[in-house]
Symmetry: C2
Amino acid sequence: ISGLVMKVRNFLQKAWDLGIDDPRKFIHCLKVGLALTVVSLFYYMRPLYDGVGGNAMWAVMTVVVVFEFTVGSTLYKCLNRIVGTSLAGALAIGVHWVASKSGDKFEPVILGTSVFFLAIAATFSRFIPTVKARFDYGAMIFILTFSLVSVSGYRVDKLFELAQQRLSTIAIGTALCLLVSMLICPVWAGKDLHDLITRNMDKLADSLDGCVAEYFTESSNTDDENEQDCRKKLQGYKCVLNSKASEDSLANFARWEPAHGNFGFRHPWKQYLKIGTMMRSCAYCIEALNGCINSEFNAHEFTKKHLSDVCMKLSSHSSRVLKDLAIITKKMTKSSTIDFSVGEMNSAVEDLQNVLKSLSTQLSRRPPLTVINEALDENETRDNPISTAILIPLMDVLPLVTLSSLLIEITTRIEKIV
Amino acid sequence: ISGLVMKVRNFLQKAWDLGIDDPRKFIHCLKVGLALTVVSLFYYMRPLYDGVGGNAMWAVMTVVVVFEFTVGSTLYKCLNRIVGTSLAGALAIGVHWVASKSGDKFEPVILGTSVFFLAIAATFSRFIPTVKARFDYGAMIFILTFSLVSVSGYRVDKLFELAQQRLSTIAIGTALCLLVSMLICPVWAGKDLHDLITRNMDKLADSLDGCVAEYFTESSNTDDENEQDCRKKLQGYKCVLNSKASEDSLANFARWEPAHGNFGFRHPWKQYLKIGTMMRSCAYCIEALNGCINSEFNAHEFTKKHLSDVCMKLSSHSSRVLKDLAIITKKMTKSSTIDFSVGEMNSAVEDLQNVLKSLSTQLSRRPPLTVINEALDENETRDNPISTAILIPLMDVLPLVTLSSLLIEITTRIEKIV
């Protein structure tokens, strides 16, 4: 029994930590409780109950189903629910009118077949990617409402009144949800996405820096705590690798949100996804680099020392560029620091290239080209024994340079729109 | 207007293609239509309607909400719905009994606060990762039912009867859903996951092979169609990179499914996730390799020719290993072919190593170790000018070897359990 108690305690402890890490979760729970309590007032207060009657049930249901963590997803569900319900209700009443004109015998047949075919159509539409991303919930609500109304229309007489009452209670529920979720400590999906992207940039920079530094300094006797902290930073790129799903869903919800904070109504959320993809391709490179470094092989000490300075310099400059980018994206302003750091990074690339040249024993044509091409050239002129360690940083620079130039473009574009 | 018509037509065409690609989607739509029509019989047939009355609505609602594409997700939702509803219903009736004993004044207060606090607790539990994965829907249904029952209990007299009827209609709905989804062309999440993994293995093998082959043969004048086909194969690894989310959700649903086909009840679905992760780390390497190849630099023709044979051999052997693995996982039997191909791959690794040795101009200690360590050694002794192109295949071999040895273990384990 004591084992079970321990398990439960551990579980609760973990759950509590989860809330401490992100207090917004506690607040969200409170918000749900508040919204539900307010909506149940419709039952407890006689004048309100007389207004809507037993249909108040639908308001409660709407609140429970629609209330989500971020404003964006709540809005998405609210809009989908209202549009889906009204469309389906109108259609169902139309079909019901036709069916009621066609005699007692045909009525259930017409109603049944219309439910059958509309259910097929709506279900199929949920498989289409664009519909799935934006109206998945709406399609479900459409089927639900249509079948409920058309089917119960067979037994209920005052169908129109019923539909109207139901719609108004749903509207009450959604309005309440929107008010609570937007006015009390709102959690904006757009802001979350923005923070996620900038945080990931920082993480990338840290792990790129840490990775190369660890390799070249190697087992400097730092204390244990520092070591663990360092290791955690190094693993940062793994978060970047796995953040695709959350980025996608956040961007999807962010689209529904009205203007808030620094973000306009038609903020270019898709650009964030592009940046995310580019960062992931950087992370792939870091992953490969990390694999090289962790494999237990020893390069020649001499060449390693020879190269360590330039490599460290390059990696620190590239991570500087990333961090500058993070700051720029955070502030959404274009600063000249970024151009400066990109320039520094490029000069570091050239330095590394020169060192490699001095090491090389073979000759190769090297036409003077742009920076990116020079980085490529370096790959070509690799002929020193510890290429594994240096090759990947160079490979890494390639997407970094592309990324940074693209990012500058994007930030200017963001600037224009904001 | 004609532009609009064209757009609509394109859209419909795309949707239709989607269905043609995977006819199970059409079948799924038909199944939903069927289940809905059957459940609406409760309204149309007098004896059935007399049995459940207006509560038949809940059966319809259950069918719409619960019916999902795979059996696993349908089962997950059904079980969650039933358990959540019964638990919440029982609790709500208990709270209602207590409240009704405490006088008219306190009744709404007690009901309201209980709704408030239970909503907070249930909402918070949905943030806990393990609960989210398995009981997210159940928690939502719990809040929904509890608040509905306890709130409407204030106005309805025969609460117990109401709850019982509602539960029985929900049971009817879920039973119908399960029957239809499991008996008519079932789509098993487990089988989907299995297929996804084996398909991804094939794709990885194809793109690894294609990548290296393309680099070394270079612009052989094949016709355009063939070219496009080839390019498509090459991009296969990108699917592997992005399949994490679908793997996770499929594995999550597969856990709920009963034994079917070759899969036992407690099939080790988690192993599939592990294999998926390993394949993804391979795909990262291929991504890096691809980046190298696509960058427009020309290695020295001589060394390239010198190395092309061994590299091609190595890549074809490694992709052979992957394909064998795919076959093994498909059949879930252990065959000796895999050992043979792993052996061949290892000898190819050694060959490449030897060629590199003959190229090398510098000496380095090379102690005879196991195969994996030898692959590492190669990385160390790289000293030829076109290392970029060869380095990555070697890097690639590293996880491949690890992967294959791990996979052999896993297949034997799967064998044991199946």
